[in-house]
């Protein structure tokens, strides 16, 4: 990676997505910023680590970011990034917690439920549902098989539905 125009194009295409992926995974804006920056620094200084035959550069960058986030999470495993109370309750009187998740107050609850998922389920929801990445691209980023992406996403959605329903009845 030596062409500034190519780099700028890649950066503008992927930086916000990678930043938000790292933000959802870590819950920390400073970690997200550092991870996003380090992912692109990897592309600048270690271009040989990207093998075009294995897929697009976008999922590669997400994969680098994923590994960096994992390192942060493991290093700070005793520290909770997710402050208590972040998961706000659903709007009062909601008989069906999944009825209208597009309401602003329910989006906040949904954001909290995603943040509370175990990392391996959270990452697949963030990549496939929030970033709208294809299963193939997510598999490349997660360094796993497409079938694993599908099964984890299915499990993650079931967990989210369960959590949202439980919150409604609390």
């Amino acid at each position: 990676m030596t062409d500034p125009d190519e780099f700028t194009s890649l950066y503008r295409q992927h930086s916000s997505g990678i930043y938000r992926f790292a933000l959802h995974m870590s819950g920390s804006a400073s970690v997200a910023e550092e991870v996003m920056q380090d992912a692109f620094i990897t592309l600048i200084h270690k271009p040989q680590s990207y093998d075009a035959s294995r897929g697009e550069v976008g999922p590669f960058l997400y994969g680098v970011a994923r590994n960096l986030v994992r390192r942060h999470l493991e290093h700070d495993r005793r520290q909770s990034y997710f402050e208590e109370g972040e998961e706000e309750n659903l709007s009062s009187g909601a008989d069906d917690p999944l009825g209208d998740l597009t309401q602003k107050e329910n989006l906040q609850a949904l954001r909290g439920a995603v943040a509370a998922l175990p990392p391996k389920y959270r990452e697949v929801v963030v990549l496939c549902d929030l970033q709208e990445m294809s299963y193939e691209a997510a598999a490349q980023a997660m360094e796993c098989a497409v079938g694993t992406v599908r099964s984890r996403l299915h499990r993650a959605r079931a967990l989210l539905i369960g959590r949202m329903q439980m919150k409604c009845h609390v």
Partner: protein, 135 residues
Amino acid sequence: MNNEEKLVAGLKALAASETSGPPAALEAALLKRLKRKRVIGWPLALEVLAAAALVAIAIFSRPPVAASSEFVAVPYAMPIGPNERADLVRVNVPVVALEQWGLKVSAFDPGQRVNADVVIGEDGLARAVRLVSNP
């Protein structure tokens, strides 16, 4: 709409509601880094070689020392890649600096300066460190 479809619709709305992004200054900083790497020329390369030679002379002209600890990865640093060139630099640093890098040197006075070997990656960032003690 079943529950999963409702959830997916909610997640799409959540994604659409998010506008956060990295600071604008980061793009310029990374681009500057790319250009700096790209335009590195002979004068700078010679300076780097000269500095490396001086470090090598300084290291090899000193009395032999015994390594007293294994290398410890610097927190949050990228591991050295299989094809990545790395430099080993011996430095004299305060004990407290090594502790910040994850080395346990509680036997020393925190204000004391000690020798340490630092592995530097191609990007010029420290990747690992080990404590060195005089025999």
